[in-house]
Amino acid sequence: MSAGPYNYSYIFKYIIIGDMGVGKSCLLHQFTEKKFMSDCPHTIGVEFGTRIIEVAGQKIKLQIWDTAGQERFRAVTRSYYRGAAGALMVYDITRRSTYNHLSSWLTDTRNLTNPSTVIFLIGNKCDLEGQRDVTYEEAKQFADENGLMFVEASAKTGQNVEEAFLETARKIYQSIQDGRLDLNAAESGVQHKPSQPGRNTLSNDQQFNKDNCAC
C-alpha cells in the first residue's frame, strides 16, 4: 500500500451506505472535491475516495468506500463493511421509503462491522426543505434510540457534509484514545501508520463470530 507524499498518523476506513439515489456518491464527492456533482451516475459496486483531515492535531487519512445502493450489488458491497471504522448511513429526507429502510441497513451494519464502528446517520438533501417527507425530530429520535450520531446535510450546498465526516473521525479518534478500539484488529478500520509491514494479519475470534452470524 502506498503512503503517498503525506505524513499521516492513522488511516480510518469509512463506508457510506443507504438506499439508491439518496446521494451517497455526491456526499463523498462534496467531501473530497468540495464540489457538487449534478448528474451523478449510479455507482457500480463501490467507489473510492480519500482525504487527509486533521483531528486533535493528528493527520488522519480517510479511505472512504462509497457503495452502490442497488440491491444487486449488495454481495459486492458487503465485503467493504468489514474493517470500517466509520459507517455513514444515508437517507433522503424527501423520500420516506429511504428512511424506512434504515433499520435493515442498520442491522446489516451492526452484523458486518464490529461494535466499536461509529455509525453516523445523515439525512441528505436538506436543501429541499419544500419536499421534506421525513421530519428532523423523528429521525433524531430514531438515531437516539439506536445510539447513532445524526445530522441533516446537503451534498448540494455542502451544508454539514464536512461536519458529518469530521465528527465521525473525532468519535473514532476518541475511541482510540479511550482504548475502546483495538488498533491491532484489522477490522477496526484503523491503521496506525501507513505502509506498516505485516498489517494484513487478523485477530480473528471476533470476525469469525460475526461471520457465523452473517452466514
Binding site: M1, S2, G4, K13, I44, G45, V46, F48, T50, Q63, W65, A68, R72, F73, A75, V76, R78, S79, Y80, R82, G83, A186, E187, N200, T201, L202, S203, N204, D205, Q207, F208, N209, K210, D211, N212, C215
Partner: protein, 624 residues
Amino acid sequence: MRELPEKENVLSKRLNKLLETRVENDHDTLEALKELSTFYCDNSLQARRNLRSQIEKRSLQINENFLSEFREVKESFDSIYNDIADMSKSLEDMTLRLQNAKRQTKHLLEQTSSYENEIAKNEMQQKVATAFLNKFILTHEELVALHGNKQKRDLVITPEIFVVLDKVQRIHNDCKTLMQSGYQTLALDVMEQMTLHQEGALERLYHWTQNHCRNVENLTDLLTQAMCRLQDRPVLFKYVIDEYCISRRAVLVGEFIDALTRGGPSGNPAPIEMRAHDPHVYVTDILVWLNKAIPIENQNLHLLVSLCNKEDKYELLTNAMASICEGICHPLKIRIDKILNASTQSSSLYAITNLIRYYKKSIGKVSEGGLLALTLSELQEKSEQIFLIALQQQVSNCLVRVETPPRDLSPTPAINHLLSVMRDMLSTASMSEGRETDMGKIVQCVLDPLLRAVNEQSSRLPPTDMAVYMLNCMYAMQTCLSLYEFMDDKLERLQAQSDAQLDTLTSEQASSLVANLNLGPIYTILQDHAHAPLSGIPGMEPGNLRNFLSKLDMLVSLPDSMLLQQIHLLSSSKHKKSVQKRAFDVLLAIYKQLYEGVYDANNLYENPASILPRTPSELMKMLS
C-alpha cells in the same frame, strides 16, 4: 738823480738788446731784406732818400695789385655763391619733392602690405573653405552614389553608397563640433542637408531592398548591409521585414503544398499525401517537413538581419518568424483535423498526440508564439481530447456486454485485452512529456470503467467466487500499474479493495474450515459456557472431540485438502497464502481455546493429554 741811472739803464738795455740782436737769426728781417734787395739795386743817396717812398710806392702797388686781384676773386666768389645758392635752392626743391614722394610711397607701401596680408588671409580662408568643402560637402560622385543618377533613376545600389552614408553620418556628427565652435547657422544648414541626403539615400535603399528581399537567393552582402542601415528607420525597416515575411510566407505555403501534393523533383520524395492512409506516417511526414523547413526560414531571416544590432531584434525576429509561418497554419490544421476526425484507433491517436507535442516543442524553439504555435497548441489539445474520447469509446465498446467470468475465475478476455491496451499506452506515455497527467488520464479512462465492469460481473457471482474473481482482476490491474510511476493513488485503491476481498475470502475459508472440522458446535459451546464443566456438555465429550481431532489430523497431513476450491483459482500465490494463513489462524485460535478448556481441571476431563496431544504451538508449526 736816481732816475737817471734808471733811464740810462733802460736805454742801455734797449741798446744792448739791439746790439745783441743777430740779424742772421731774424727770419723776418732776412726775408724783408731779401725782398729789398730785389729792387734796391744802386746804393745812392737819392736812392737812399727815395727808398722810403719807393717802398711805400711798392707797398701801394702791391696792395693795389692785391686789391684788383682780390676783386677778381671776390667776383668769382660771388658767382660761386650765386651758383651754390641756386644749387641749394634747387636742392631744397628737390628735397621737398623727395619728401613728398617719400610720403606718397609710404602710403603705397602700407597699402601693399595690407593687400599682402589680405592675400595671405584669403589664401588661408580658401584653404579652410576647401577643407570645409572636403569635409562637409559631398562630391558629385558621392551624390551620384547616394541618390543615383537623375537620368537613369534605376541605378543599382553599389557598395559606395554605404561609404557615403557613413560619411554623411560622420558629417552630421562633425556638425556638432561645428556648432560648439560657434557656427550654429552653418552647422544647422549642413546638418539639414545631410539629413536630407540621408533620408533620400535611405529611401532609395529602402525601395531597392524591398524589391530585392523577395528572393532569398538574393540575400547578398549588400542586402544585409542595407538592412543594417535601415534599422535606424524603424518604419522602413519594418516595411522591408513585412515585405520579406509576406513573400516568404507565400513561398513557404507553396513549398508545403508542393511537398504534400507533388513531392520532390520528379516525384522523389513522393508526395506526402500519398501516405495519407497511414495517419501516423502521414502526420510524421508533415511535421518532419515543417520541422525542416521552418529552421531554414529562420536561418534566412537571421542572415537578412545578421548585421543589425537593434535591441528589439529578438522580438522582431520572433514576430517575423511567426508571420512567415502564418500561411502554413491553415493547410496544416485542415489536414491534421481530418486525420484526427477520421482515425479511430486510440493507440495511433496517442502516437499522433505525442508527435504533435514533440514537434510543437521542437518548432517552438525556432518560431515562438504566433499563429503556428497557437495552431499546434490547438491541434495538440484537440488530439489529446480525441484520443481520450477514442480510448473511452474503445473501453466502453469492449465492456458493453457484461461477460460472465470464466470458470477458472480469471479476468475475462475483454479485461485482459483492455489491460494490455493500457499497458502499451502507459509504456509510451511513461516516456512522453507531461507523462504524469497523461498516465493519470489514460489510467482513469481505462481503469475506472474496468473496475465498474468487474464489480458488475462479480455481482452475479456467489460471494466466494466474487471475492476470488475480484482479487484476480485487481491483481492483474495491480501487476500492470505497478510497473509505472505516479500510480500510487490507483494502487492504493486497488490494494484497499483487494484487502476487503481478502477479508471476505478469509472469513469464507475460515467458516468452511470450521464446518468441515465439525468445530461449529464446539466453538459455540466454548463461547457460551459459563459454569458447568465442559466435559459434561453434550457435544464436548472426549469421543466427540476425538472425532474432531481425526479430521484435524487429515487437515494437518494435507493442508490444502480443506481449502475452498476457489482459493486454488487465485492467481496471486501471495493472496492464496494469506487467505490460508489467516483461516488457519482462526482455527488455531479456537484450538487454543479448546486446549485450554480441556486442560482446565475445572472442566473435569480425564487425561487431557490423551484427548488433545498437540499443543497449540505444535499445531501452528504443523499448519504453517
